[in-house]
């Protein structure tokens, strides 16, 4: 049956409307999880707050298990799902830059807009920097094009690379995530609490 738009159950003209609704829901959940506070977000780097880890890993876990069961019930065709192609070089370089920006500014691109929405000044400043960065990137793109398209591997998945089944990977992921939550809670206890 699914994906609904690709299989013609929903007209592609609804794309933007659905995107708006999903975006509103996403923003609401980010704000409700406390992602509009840069101190809370940066906590994951200093070990006093692991809400980023918990929220995102839970989301990945639920979506992953959900998709597997949906596929089993025949509600979605996993072969038709868009998988982002992997560019190894740009993932590593971009990941370092993004991590630096995250630890310095206390926001990631999505959450900075949550911060702007509730009027946080640091988020406004961060978003200004984000647009400046986008502008500079597009100006120097010809020079970084090689890095940008470097290490192309196509839409690979962990399951294909290691030759394990989808279910096994999901199970291992769930176990690893729960272990990470457990370790995070120990770290949090050891680190002095910070008034947020």
């Amino acid at each position: 049956m699914g994906p609904l738009i690709a299989n013609g159950y929903i007209d592609p003209a609804w794309n933007n409307v659905i995107a708006l609704l999903v975006g509103i829901a996403f923003g609401y959940i980010l704000e409700a999880s406390g992602f509009s506070s840069s101190r809370k977000l940066a906590g994951v780097f200093y070990g006093y707050d692991f809400v980023v880890l918990r929220v995102f890993m839970t989301a990945v876990m639920v979506a992953m298990i959900g998709l597997i069961y949906f596929s089993y019930m025949g509600w979605i065709d996993l072969g038709e799902i868009f998988i982002l192609p992997t560019f190894m070089t740009s993932i590593i370089v971009g990941g370092i830059i993004m991590g630096l920006g995250f630890v310095l500014g206390g926001y990631c691109p999505g959450t900075s807009f949550t911060g702007v929405a509730i009027g946080k000044l640091d988020a406004v400043f961060f978003t200004g920097g984000l647009y400046l960065g986008i502008f500079i990137f597009s100006m120097i793109f010809p020079w970084v094009e090689k890095i940008y398209y470097g290490g192309e591997q196509g839409p690979v998945t962990v399951m294909e690379t290691f030759g394990i089944s989808r279910g096994l990977f999901a199970f291992l992921f769930v176990i690893a995530t729960l272990m990470a939550f457990f370790v995070a809670s120990i770290v949090k206890k050891k680190v002095k609490n910070i008034e947020l």
Partner: protein, 210 residues
């Protein structure tokens, strides 16, 4: 551990263990058995030999005629313009339509008529293709045996038969001449080129990211 998290954790672990034992991608676009049953019983899935003859004579581009017999039989005799898709080679080992034929079957706006010597082979192909979700499929009722009987060697109706039967007989006589059947002057039939494969429109992939 916080007690609020106990239930979600247990749930996700159970679901994770369940995912371990789920068979990989059982998803197919197969038509449900109920739907298939309804479609099998629908008499409109048959076309008559006259309808097929008319389509060939008129060169209707929306109709694809498929010979479901083996290639040896196909080489010995076939309807002009038909494509040979043997029943044995229709489906590959993965249960999908063989790559060789997927450009012929299921093209939007095309009607496909299967025939074999009788009804059986064509019917089997019809069921397989319908099960795989291909639309607009038909079976030539009676197959080539009936084709020979009605189109190539038509018999005149009884004198008392209604006028429709005479009209039908007239058409069959004309078709018989066209296809070079018994009694008619043998003419070299122009065999239509097989239809060039048209790539099916790819389903739209959703693009986007974080």
């Amino acid at each position: 551990m916080n007690k609020t998290y106990f239930f979600p954790i247990v749930l996700i672990v159970i679901l994770g263990i369940g995912a371990l034992f789920l068979p990989e991608s059982t998803y197919t676009e197969e038509v449900s058995p109920d739907q298939l049953f309804l479609e099998i019983n629908d008499p409109s899935r048959f076309v008559t030999t006259e309808q097929v003859a008319r389509a060939i004579i008129e060169g209707d581009p929306t109709i694809l005629i498929v010979d479901t017999r083996s290639s040896d039989q196909y080489k010995a005799f076939y309807l002009p313009g038909s494509v040979n898709i043997p029943l044995e080679e229709l489906v590959d080992s993965t249960g999908k339509i063989n790559e060789k034929w997927e450009n012929y079957l299921g093209i939007e706006g095309m009607y496909t008529a299967f025939y074999s010597n009788g009804d059986v082979c064509a019917d089997q192909v019809w069921v397989l293709c319908t099960r795989l979700g291909i639309k607009n499929l038909f079976v030539m009722k009676g197959g080539l045996n009936y084709w020979v009987e009605t189109i190539l060697r038509p018999k005149p109706p009884a004198q008392t038969a209604p006028s429709e039967e005479f009209a039908l007989y007239d058409f069959r006589k004309g078709a018989s001449m066209y296809f070079g059947g018994g009694g008619a002057i043998e003419v070299e039939t122009q065999i239509a080129e097989p239809i060039t494969p048209i790539r099916k429109k790819k389903k739209r992939v959703i693009s986007g990211g974080c």
